[in-house]
């Protein structure tokens, strides 16, 4: 009973933020519905991109959170080098990322052969391959945001939890992660937005079509050079609105972690 009441209080205290979140999502859905009603060529590529971005978001969130915890461990050998390698997709050309993906996960690589042996087909030119390509670009953004979240947790809370008998895992899941939640969720949103718009690495590793459908960003190019400027415009508009909405929500969440937030 106390728990339910506490959750209700927490929800009521956050009603402004919840309303903002709901309005943002409603605007995104409204724009997609409007654009769909105007031409109807948007949904399949957008749906493919949303599915890739969503799975990529879950993947990068799990891997990124684990990697962030590892990078925050001061005794980790080569910590700065691993940090730099994790961040390098931010500055490398997407084609270079695509090339590395083919070299490391393609059919000639050890990982690619192992994948094929387990799943009966190659990773390259598949939906899963597109998820991996999109995740590579998202990972540094997720790691950076999750790190801000984890570092914003006052060490006195973790010390207090330890003196109350909590081991490292319990401290992490009951204290650190809930208090870092705004940063973790913001990281997920940034990762989602980045994965949604991935072009170069996806094109290189997963190809221009997945089961005959291009991703949203590839569809814009297809439309434009196929003399369907209206299609390119509609697709661009939808992807811009989704991207702005995600970044707006990520900004709101990140601001919550700062002291004296406005």
């Amino acid at each position: 009973m106390a728990k339910e009441s506490s959750r209700l209080d927490a929800l009521l205290a956050e009603r402004g933020e919840i309303a903002r979140f709901a309005i943002t999502i409603a605007v995104v859905i409204g724009v997609i519905a409007y654009v769909q009603s105007q031409g109807g060529v948007v949904w399949n590529p957008l749906s493919l991109s949303l599915r890739i971005a969503f799975i990529s978001m879950v993947l990068t969130l799990v891997v990124g959170t684990g990697l962030t915890v590892l990078l925050m461990w001061r005794k980790l050998p080569g910590r700065d080098l691993i940090d730099a390698i994790t961040s390098v997709p931010l500055v490398l050309p997407p084609t270079v990322l695509g090339y590395y993906l083919i070299v490391s996960l393609g059919p000639e690589s050890a990982v690619g052969r192992a994948w094929e042996a387990v799943f009966g087909g190659p990773l390259i030119f598949t939906f899963q391959g597109a998820v991996v390509a999109a995740s590579l670009g998202s990972l540094p953004l997720v790691v950076r945001s999750v790190r801000v979240g984890l570092e914003s947790v006052d060490p006195n809370y973790t010390a207090a939890a330890r003196t109350l008998g909590a081991g490292p895992l319990r401290v992490f899941f009951t204290i650190v992660l809930p208090l870092a939640a705004p940063g973790v969720i913001a990281g997920a949103m940034l990762g989602f937005a980045r994965a949604l718009g991935d072009y170069g690495a996806t094109m290189f590793f997963a190809g221009a079509r997945i089961d005959g459908v291009p991703t949203g960003s590839i569809a814009v190019m297809d439309f434009f050079f196929g003399n369907n400027e209206a299609g390119a415009r509609r697709m661009s508009l939808v992807m811009t609105v989704v991207g702005v909405a995600m970044l707006y929500l990520a900004n709101r969440l990140t601001r919550r972690m700062l002291p004296n937030r406005a």
């Binding site: 209080d9 927490a10 010390a159 003196t163 909590a166 208090l179």
Partner: protein, 231 residues
């Protein structure tokens, strides 16, 4: 009842070294001294949050730290309670969940009943479902004390818990801590700057200066004629 026996040597910087021996029977031992004399560092070492260069910490028959023997029991396995200077009440949990946190090995129903009883005991039962950001200074102190008591500790550490309170509230809480000390019968190590607070609370006083014990004994002996710690 277990006594606390500790010997701690820790060089914090080139011009400061902590070198103290403590023997604290059950009751309240107040550690006093000017800022930077090493008071809070002693608590951190006793809790296991900081490792000294050399030393031994034992509560009754339980050796928590012995650098010579290579013993260093992790913080979460030391049966202690620590009220931090800033209290560190978990902001995402209500008062009951804060108090329950240290009782995870107790069955759930029993845990909640005990947490509610402890909150009542320290006079803040009405705060059970509220979160820390809605507490006043005095209320937060009481919830922090309830949380500290919930573990049935062998040692209680209080790091200037009343420093931010006005005189009336401080007097109320001093009297509450005295009552709790009689009920608990474990060593309570209380760090304070306040001579008045130490006179009211302490069974034993340890005075520190520059990392060394300069006086120890009954309050009347150690604090006779003392008006300021910053000498």
């Amino acid at each position: 009842m277990p006594d606390l026996v500790a010997k701690i040597t820790l060089a914090r910087s080139s011009d400061f070294a902590l070198d103290v021996e403590l023997a604290c029977p059950h009751g309240i031992t107040c550690i006093m001294g000017p800022s930077g004399s090493g008071k809070s560092t002693i608590l951190a070492v006793l809790a296991g949050l900081q490792t000294p260069d050399r030393g031994r910490v034992a509560v009754g028959n339980h050796v928590w730290l012995d650098r010579d023997q290579g013993i260093d029991v992790p913080v979460h396995q030391r049966r202690l309670s620590y009220v931090f200077q800033g209290l560190a009440l978990f902001p995402h949990m209500n008062a009951v969940h804060n108090v329950e946190y240290g009782m995870h090995d107790t069955p759930r129903a029993e845990r909640t009943a005990k947490a509610l009883a402890l909150l009542e005991r320290v006079g803040v039962g009405h705060l059970a479902k509220r979160r820390p950001r809605t507490f006043s200074g005095g209320e937060a102190q009481r919830v922090a004390l309830a949380r500290a008591l919930a573990r049935s500790p062998e040692l209680v550490l209080l790091d200037e818990p009343f420093s931010a309170l006005d005189r009336d509230l401080r007097a109320q809480l001093v009297s509450l801590v005295r009552e709790l000390s009689r009920e608990l019968t474990v060593p309570i190590v209380h760090v304070t700057h306040s001579i008045a607070e130490a006179r009211q609370l302490a069974d034993q006083i340890v005075r520190l200066d520059k990392g060394k014990v300069v006086a120890r004994g009954k309050p009347a002996e150690v604090l006779a004629g003392v008006t300021s710690l910053e000498e």
